[in-house]
């Protein structure tokens, strides 16, 4: 095996045995200390949605490099956003490469394909993003940790924000698939006003003229929408063109740093909810934002921050326990003793985060679009499913 320096940017099979240069050094020195931890990262690096996976990977690898822990070995593969490919990769990683920890999946449907099987085979899964409700409630598992959020969290925070702002009638909209349906029910869980209309769009839809006409016609006080990826870009551009004077609230996914440049000025002023922002005032975050920009020459997104925190959590557990002692390692993960870029961070009973969720506003700063925190929507929010988890 080669410990390559160049390997970080290329996830080809040959060079994928990403080890830090320190590993190569330690192998030369013949130092054998604690048992190494093998991490299998399955994420989307090609096709639609690749930007999310690339940010996840880059954030994760930044933390790995900074730590320079010779016992950590990361193996990265591209799932092409296809569930069957993800399953195959996890089989390969578990059966052939004997990884200890899996991580990196962006999409809930891929997570549902991989996670239940992986944790039942005794592997740890640390979620950098997707956290479907099935895995938070009855389907929770002692080896499954979500480091990002529970899927409903950001939508709940948007509902809370709409209530706090006194929006009496909301128009709410999401794609017609499980995450979209969860989104609207998450929003309604904390929204106390009246829903003017709820609309389900087609998954992958790119033209929203019909929906925008309905929104204009509804006379609602504000709009809440959840349209991840390219759908959100299309919608926001068309929304700006329509020139409707109505406040817009949404979860961070459509206003994350990776897609803001593609939306352009149309996004300015939109309120969006997130558990992280690049202006959260703490030392770990300031260091992360600076290092990420220095290394990759772009601003970090929410996904990069989640990837970074996931790696930091893993590294903190490695400092405290040996992977061969699964119980001790699990306890070390549960303790979550690392400096999160989000500030306070703890796991709830179902091993999902308990954290503050903020309201951010899209602003233009030094010619770049980015987000700024304007309020705190929820403090120490856990999730709605923890009670159903019998762990």
């Amino acid at each position: 095996m080669t410990g390559t320096k160049t390997g970080i940017h290329r996830e080809t099979r040959m060079t994928k045995y990403l080890t830090t240069t320190a590993l190569a050094l330690s192998m030369l020195g013949g130092a054998a200390m604690a048992e190494p931890v093998k991490v299998g990262m399955i994420t989307t690096l090609s096709g639609g949605g690749a930007s999310l996976g690339i940010d996840t990977r880059d954030g994760f690898m930044l933390a790995v490099e900074e730590a320079g822990n010779p016992d950590l070995e990361v193996h990265i593969e591209d799932d092409q956003r296809k569930p069957e490919v993800a399953v195959q990769l996890s089989d390969e990683m578990i059966q052939s490469e004997d990884v200890d920890v899996l991580t990196g999946i962006v999409w809930s449907n891929l997570a549902m394909a991989v996670v239940p099987g992986a944790v039942r085979q005794g592997k740890f899964y640390l979620s950098t993003n997707a956290a479907p409700s099935q895995l938070a409630g009855k389907g929770c598992h002692e080896n499954y940790f979500s480091v990002s959020y529970q899927n409903d969290n950001l939508h709940e925070a948007a509902g809370q924000y709409a209530t706090d702002e006194g929006f009496g009638r909301m128009f709410i909209m999401a794609p017609n698939y499980p995450a979209g349906q969860d989104s609207l029910s998450g929003f309604k869980r904390f929204y106390e006003g009246e829903v003017a209309n709820e609309v389900y769009t087609q998954l992958g839809q790119t033209d929203y003229a019909a929906e925008i006409a309905q929104i204009r016609d509804s006379g609602a006080d504000a709009l809440f929408f959840f349209l991840p990826g390219g759908m959100g870009i299309s919608f926001m551009k068309q929304w700006a063109e329509a020139g409707i004077d109505m406040p817009v609230v949404g979860p961070a996914f459509s206003f994350s740093q990776d897609i803001l440049p593609a939306i352009g000025e149309a996004a300015v002023g939109v309120k969006n909810t997130a558990q992280w922002s690049k202006d959260i005032d703490n030392e770990a975050n300031a260091q992360f934002v600076e290092a990420f920009q220095a290394k990759y020459d772009r601003l970090p997104s929410l996904y990069a921050a989640q990837g970074y925190d996931t790696a930091r959590l893993l590294l903190s557990a490695m400092d405290k326990a040996d992977i061969s002692d699964a119980d001790a390692f699990r306890e070390a993960l549960r303790a979550a003793e690392f400096d999160s870029v989000r500030g306070d961070f703890a796991f709830g009973p179902n091993q999902h985060p308990v954290q503050d969720i903020y309201v951010r506003e899209v602003i233009s700063e030094e010619g770049q679009l980015t987000n700024k925190i304007v309020a705190t929507a929820m403090e120490d929010r856990g999730d709605a499913y923890a009670e159903e988890c019998s762990m």
């Binding site: 089989d91 390969e92 052939s96 698939y177 499980p178």
Partner: protein, 347 residues
């Protein structure tokens, strides 16, 4: 070499007498079938468990391809919607297992049915459902021909795809996990080797069945329907009935493959129904050599191997894969088997 010695389906004169000794095509077929078995067993012996899984995947996709080959290679019908039957088979396995594992009855009338985790029952159900769907879709689609047939089969596939995405009962786009692989009497299906052996045996049975079918009166009528519908009508056979029957059998075989695929991944999702999968099945056949009995196996094997190997060379492997595919179409007509076994392909 005379064309007589080919697989009955591919030969221009299938009525000719059987060869006295094994032809080159037969040897190539035997090498492919046994080669897959040897690969799976060898990988197991060397502890490469994942390679066993890959071999299983090849075998399953080859079964699906064999279903498509029946209508496309033998009957000349280009179906661009076979993912529909593949996905329906997958969902049959997923839904039956889901109810059995959760102890929630699937239906209580006319009798109580709580789902099942038994593979033979699942296979049978999947094949019946695949056949029913193919009968309905085929009856409507066979009114059209040529490009219209390609597109109407695509349309039906897309309808089922969008239905599966937005129907929440069984997970919608999130899909439906099967936590424990379904069982087969006398085997430990969770053991990759057992499962591989089972799937390989099913593949051989399916290919054997198709070979027999192709030699039968029905098979000859099917090939005649491809070549000249008028001639068939002249001897008093309705081509529509023959083609529809082939379409139904094809749907059943592809659904069986879908049920196996669901068990391989222990997961079903609408991506099994997507038009990409229909396209991939076509690619297998053309890579392998349309109308050849073992084309689906050769094509699926080559496709998976290339995907696996090229994926290791570059992030942009799809670019090179595209170039390679293009080269095969432009310069290597007749596919892998045509290249290995020689002989003229129809069309």
């Amino acid at each position: 070499m005379s064309p007589v010695e080919q697989i009955p389906a591919a030969g221009s004169e299938p009525m000719a007498a059987a060869p006295a000794r094994p032809s080159r095509a037969t040897l190539v077929n035997a090498a492919l079938g046994l080669g897959l078995l040897a690969f799976g067993l060898g990988a197991w012996a060397m502890g490469e468990v994942f390679m066993v899984t890959l071999a299983t995947k090849v075998a399953i996709l080859a079964i699906a391809g064999a279903g498509l080959n029946l209508v496309l290679g033998y009957g000349g019908l280009v179906s661009f919607g076979h993912a529909a039957y593949f996905g329906l088979g997958g969902y049959t396995a997923g839904i039956l297992a889901h109810h059995a594992l959760n102890y929630t009855p699937l239906f209580e009338w006319p009798f109580l049915f709580e789902g099942t985790t038994s593979m033979p029952v699942i296979w049978l159900t999947a094949m019946v459902i695949g056949a029913l769907a193919a009968a309905a879709i085929g009856a409507l689609s066979l009114r059209t021909t040529g490009v219209y047939f390609i597109m109407i089969t695509l349309a039906f596939g897309q309808m089922i795809f969008y239905f599966a995405i937005s129907w929440p009962a069984y997970g919608g786009e999130d899909g439906l996990p099967i936590y424990v692989r379904n069982g087969f009497p006398g085997l430990d299906t969770l053991d990759p080797l057992h499962f591989f052996g089972l799937v390989w045996a099913v593949l051989m049975a399916v290919l054997g069945g198709i070979a027999m079918l192709a030699r039968s009166r029905f098979g000859l009528a099917l090939q005649a329907a491809r070549q000249n519908r008028q001639r068939l009508m002249a001897v008093g056979i309705r081509p529509g009935g023959v083609l529809l029957t082939a379409f139904v059998i094809s749907g059943a075989i592809t659904a069986l493959a879908g049920a196996l695929y669901a068990d391989l991944n222990r997961f079903v999702s609408p991506s099994m129904l997507s038009w990409h999968l229909s396209g991939e099945l076509l690619v297998f056949l053309i890579l392998g050599g349309t109308g050849r009995l073992f084309a689906p196996l050769a094509g699926a094997g080559l496709y998976i191997a290339l995907e696996h190997l090229l994926g290791g060379v570059s992030d942009h492997w799809q670019f090179f894969f595209g170039l390679l595919l293009l080269a095969v179409v432009l310069f290597a007509r007749g596919g892998v088997i045509g290249f290995l076994a020689g002989g003229k392909r129809h069309g």
